[in-house]
Amino acid sequence: MKTILVDPDRCMQCCLCQQACKDEHCDNDWSPIAKPQGKSQFWVKCNETEVGSGTRMKLHRVTVMCQHCSNAPCIAAGEGAVYRREDGYVIIDPEKAVGNRAIAEACPYGAVYYNEELDLPQKCTMCAHLLDMGWKQPRCVTACPADALTYVDTDELTVDNMYAPLERLHPEYGTDPQVAYVNLPKPFIAGAVYDPKADKCLANVLVTATHMVTGKASSAYSDTLGEFRLVKLDPGFYTVSFFKDGYCYKELSKIDARVSPNIEDVVLYPLPS
């Protein structure tokens, strides 16, 4: 199915996707696909979450829109007012859905808004009215300056032509979402290693985080400033070890990576010569 592919690693929260959406849908009536978008709605929205701390903070920026689920709760709630097109896009019929708040409430992604003025649930249409006119992609994708949003055919994506594994947002909701994601945020452990005797940043320290329950390990070398970042970790508690030739081995345990911790400055002492 042709759908939007979201890559949070390429998002700058410029919100051009949101604005393109509003430019297209506010004050414009694209019935029967959609009525004008209500005020303060975000049919596509960049959600920001700050994680980490200090100089190793990070803003996770995940763009969320209607996931055009195969098993869409809004279709069930709509009692005929919400339908799936042949191309897979889920559309709220702006005539039939009048007054049906259950459609908005049914969405576990919070992607359906309620327009009080029109008494109507509203959401992303994948710009179906434009696609039907022969446009090549939805407006938000065209507006994105850094390919954080692209329009792809997921049937054609394989491990060979994808730069990261394909994911879905909250598959545990069980709605079979059809918008695709890569690089969805996961916890990291970050810090910097140095030698306090020489007051020197330590590069090429092998840093390994091992999940204390599953035993799954993840490794990275520190960079020239001694900085390391172990990324895409499963949430949980970790043992983090530091190894470099000529230095005392070090191990930190119970590092809590349910959030993304910045373990700040890690001291490695040179081995006695």
Binding site: Q13, D23, C26, M57, P145, L225
Partner: protein, 856 residues
């Protein structure tokens, strides 16, 4: 040639083209209404693209040209409630009676007809000419008006006022203040007033640079004409494995998007770290002595300029062998700048060992007290590494990163000059009034004439010119009494707001006319406000990225020309500046001198004829754009390449023709020991900085990194933008965000979303606290450009909108430069008691003094 529609327009719209400050656009119009706005998109194969290839990876400019943040919100700005729709007159300004100038900023406005407006202006101008002569006129402008070439300040405004004769109320290059007033003494002026050119930097960095340092700069989100369109380029450099380090009090957007590491540095202490880097290089031999010997003067005692006093070389200063006796060790620097010694050392080693491109030109560090020292020192550091070598560059966020450029594939002549219509009309009128007022001196000129200063010009074409004296009034000239401003807003620009507000209330300012699209802060002080069209309401020919032709090379996209079609009829009774000046010229007896019998249309055609675009004009207008093909047999010539390779035959524009680490001009003008501008670059503890005793009272350094969703002061009223960053208070008001480190906030008992007051001796502003680790402790990022909403008639005492410029530092940078210290601003922060304030300022909270409240 008929246009082949890219998309069927079965929705009944017509696709037109234009170009804006956010980039080139397709505008879909139906029934004189804008239906949608898209980024301009070229057809594949439409033009032969340039590209760079490195390690098998290719960068090609995109066919869809990304817009900046406000571009897609244009429908909101075009149809904004805050448009000036009709000529307006301040209700209590009577040009034939009481002018009530003290009521500017408080009184409301009434609608008048264009005939009335023209008649008043004509009468006032004749009176001024008869009473004082033309030097009593002063014209000024916003540096960032609506996009255009013909409809641009160097075109219509300059032509009209130079024809009449008027005092130029000018501003200094305040985007790169420290570089503009410092770097020319180090390496000459260049076209960019201290900033070396950018052409071919993109290719050189791609091929040669291994390390990129962003020192206090945010190239992706600096938000002036470009930025976000470089996002793909930065990812390309990431893919090539270029190491990116950001050194900044703020983890900026480019840093978060690309950097491997963020190093937090205390604002205003950059030179301490810079000196320590020089110390490490000198003591460990990690610099290019041979290059310095042939390309520079003043690095060491053996290479001082002729006759210079001994003991004044840079090396002597750095090693602590000069008067201060302080070796500039990393240990010394670390205590000042807060960066660990080991990190300073590692940065020094890494910078010296890898071809390094630095984004350091412009940026917040150059707009502080003594910022010319920042420019001179960081220029010196890169010169120590052989500036001009492959991969060794200095760059600026915005306008100073560029791909191939040949000076021909463009719309018009470039440079800060009288451009636009002046290039194609038969007669050119040099301004007969030589007097000027530098904006930072406006208040002093109004209240305390005579005034003398130097270096206040917008354009200095060589370092010597920088030191020429300006006088106000000049001999044989009048003080100014009639002020004309094209576009806004200037009053919420850096560091002089309070003084401006007070100055505008002076009875000496007899008449103040503002011609603007939006009713902004300057309008609130005007006597007459004239409604101007947006770029969507008139035609023009421009090219993206060139800023009305005064910045030629700043394009990383395909080089293109765009026809700005008149997309909709003017809103209300708005007119172009050109129309207004044409009418005034006729009324004042200049007949046809202004337009020389031309119309907007014929001038555009003449401008077009000067280009090398191989299309008939009508075809160009119909298609709406032209893409120039890649330059054939292109020979790159990146910044400083010629000087690097052959300094004898390509001397710099300095007295010695070399890099003057020891400045002979500074030595001659200020003597060898001026504590505010020494002969070689120094670290000087800044005024109103972290170590100023005032910091005990006001402990936060305010950071004014550009607003992410505004263009300086523009688009503060577009909800599609503001809803992404404003902090909505319990009273529903959209407060400007103040970003604070969570540790500081915890100490002050401030929570995320609380409304706070930031204050100092100058006044206070309200803002919404946003807790984030992006900002280092001791610093608050509360930026400028919100539309003022004073809570009482006394300007700047307490501003609800949160425009920090109400209380920023208006003082000179140093004895050397009249302005530009506004980033050296200390503030205190406390939780605001909104309910108490609402009780104290009922009128203010009702919006009585609000910028947009033109009814008063």
């Amino acid at each position: 040639m008929a246009e082949t529609p890219r998309y069927p327009s079965s929705d009944g719209t017509t696709r037109l083209t234009t170009c804006s400050t956010s980039g080139p656009m397709f505008v879909h119009v139906k029934d004189d209404k804008i239906v949608r706005i898209e980024p301009m998109q070229f057809e594949p194969g439409e033009a032969k693209s340039w590209k760079v290839v490195q390690n098998g990876k290719e960068y090609k400019p995109p066919l869809i040209q990304p817009l900046l943040q406000w571009g897609l919100a244009s429908k909101q700005s075009v149809y904004s409630e805050n448009r000036v729709k009709y000529p307006l007159k301040r209700v209590d300004w009577d040009p034939n009676g009481e002018r009530n100038t003290e009521n500017r900023g408080v009184s409301g406005y009434e609608r008048i007809s264009w005939d009335e407006a023209y008649a008043i202006i004509e009468t006032e101008m004749r009176r001024i000419l008869d009473t004082y002569g033309p030097s009593a006129f002063a014209y000024s402008y916003s540096a960032h008006p609506e996009w255009g070439s013909l409809h641009f300040l160097f075109s219509d405004l300059f032509r009209f006022w130079h024809m009449i004769g008027a005092t130029h109320r000018e501003f200094t290059p305040n985007s790169w203040e420290g570089w503009a007033c410092g770097a020319p003494f180090l390496w000459g002026d260049w076209q960019g007033h201290g900033l070396p050119p950018a052409t071919d930097s993109l290719q050189d960095i791609t091929r040669e640079s291994e390390l990129i340092i962003l020192w206090g700069t945010d190239p992706i989100m600096h938000n002036t004409y470009n930025g976000i369109d470089t996002g793909r380029l930065w990812k390309y450099w990431n893919d090539l494995g270029k190491r990116v380090i950001v050194i900044d009090p703020l983890y900026n957007e480019t840093g978060m998007f690309t950097a491997d590491s963020w190093i937090r540095i205390i604002p205003g202490t950059d030179n301490a770290m810079g000196c320590a880097i020089a110390y490490i290089w000198i003591t460990e031999g990690l610099y290019d002595q041979e290059y310095l010997d042939t390309h520079a003067v003043g690095f060491d005692e053996d290479h001082l300029p002729e006759g210079a006093p001994a003991g004044k070389s840079f090396k002597t200063y750095i090693l602590g062998e000069a008067e201060d006796g302080i070796p500039k060790t990393p240990e010394w620097a670390s205590k000042i700048c807060g960066v660990p010694v080991r990190v300073i050392k590692q940065i020094a080693y890494e910078w010296a060992s890898k071809p390094t491109s630095m984004w350091v030109l412009t940026g917040g560090a150059c707009r502080r007290t003594f910022a010319h020292e920042f420019a001179r020192l960081f220029g010196t550091l890169q010169v120590m590494q052989g500036f001009g070598k492959p991969g060794v560059n200095m760059l600026s966020p915005g306008l100073f990163i560029a791909g191939p450029y040949d000076g021909e594939k463009q719309i018009g002549p470039t440079g800060y000059a009288d451009g636009g219509m002046n290039v194609v009309l038969d007669n050119y009128y040099p301004n007969k009034v030589k007097q000027s007022i530098t904006f930072q001196k406006f208040y002093d000129c109004v209240y305390n004439p005579p005034q003398k200063w130097h270096g206040g010009h917008q354009d200095n074409f060589n370092p010597e010119m920088y030191l020429e004296t300006c006088e106000y009034p000049m001999p044989g000239h009048s003080e100014c009494h009639f002020y004309w401003q094209r576009g806004g807003t200037l009053t919420n620009q850096p560091g002089k707001m309070l003084r401006d507000h007070v100055a505008y209330k002076s009875p000496k300012v007899e008449t103040f006319v503002v011609a603007d699209v939006y009713f902004n802060r300057d309008c609130r002080y005007a006597d007459l406000v004239l409604p101007i069209t947006t770029l969507f309401e008139r035609q023009d020919i421009t090219e993206p990225g060139s800023v009305g032709q005064y910045v030629p090379t700043a394009v990383i996209n395909l080089r293109s020309a765009v026809y700005s079609k008149k997309c909709i009829e003017p809103i209300g009774e708005s007119k172009t500046d050109l129309e207004i000046f044409e009418e005034l010229a006729r009324r004042l007896g200049y007949g046809d001198q202004f337009m020389e019998g031309n119309t907007e249309e014929t001038i555009l055609e003449k401008m077009y004829t000067r280009t090398n675009i191989p299309m008939e004009y009508d075809d160009f207008k119909e298609k709406g754009y032209y893409v120039w093909p890649a330059i054939e047999d292109y020979v790159e010539n990146k910044q400083w390449k010629d000087f690097y390779e052959d300094p004898e035959n390509h001397p710099l524009d300095t007295p010695t023709g070399k890099v003057e680490i020891f400045s002979t001009l500074i030595w001659n003008y200020y003597g060898p020991d001026n504590p505010e501008i020494p002969v070689v670059p120094h670290y000087i503890e800044e005024k109103e900085g972290r170590y100023d005793p005032l910091a005990e009272k006001y402990p936060f350094q305010d950071l004014q990194a550009h607003p992410k969703f505004r263009f300086h002061g523009k688009f503060d009223d577009c909800e599609w933008l503001t809803e992404n960053y404003k902090v909505y208070g319990p009273d529903g008001y959209p407060y400007e965000p103040a970003y604070i480190n969570p540790d500081d906030a915890a100490r002050l008992g401030i929570e995320h979303g609380d409304i706070i007051r930031a204050f100092n001796d100058r006044g206070g502003v309200l803002a919404g606290a946003q807790l984030t680790h992006r900002v280092m402790p001791g610093v608050v990022w509360l930026t400028y450009g919100a539309w003022n909403d004073p809570l009482e008639p006394t300007p700047c005492k307490l501003d609800r909108s949160g425009d920090i410029n109400a209380i920023t530092n208006p003082d000179p940078m140093s004895v050397h430069h009249v302005g530009g210290a506004y980033n050296s601003t200390l503030v205190g922060i406390e939780k605001a008691d909104l309910e108490a304030l609402a009780r104290e300022y009922p009128e203010g909270f009702a919006g009585k003094y609000r910028t947009s409240n033109w009814k008063g």
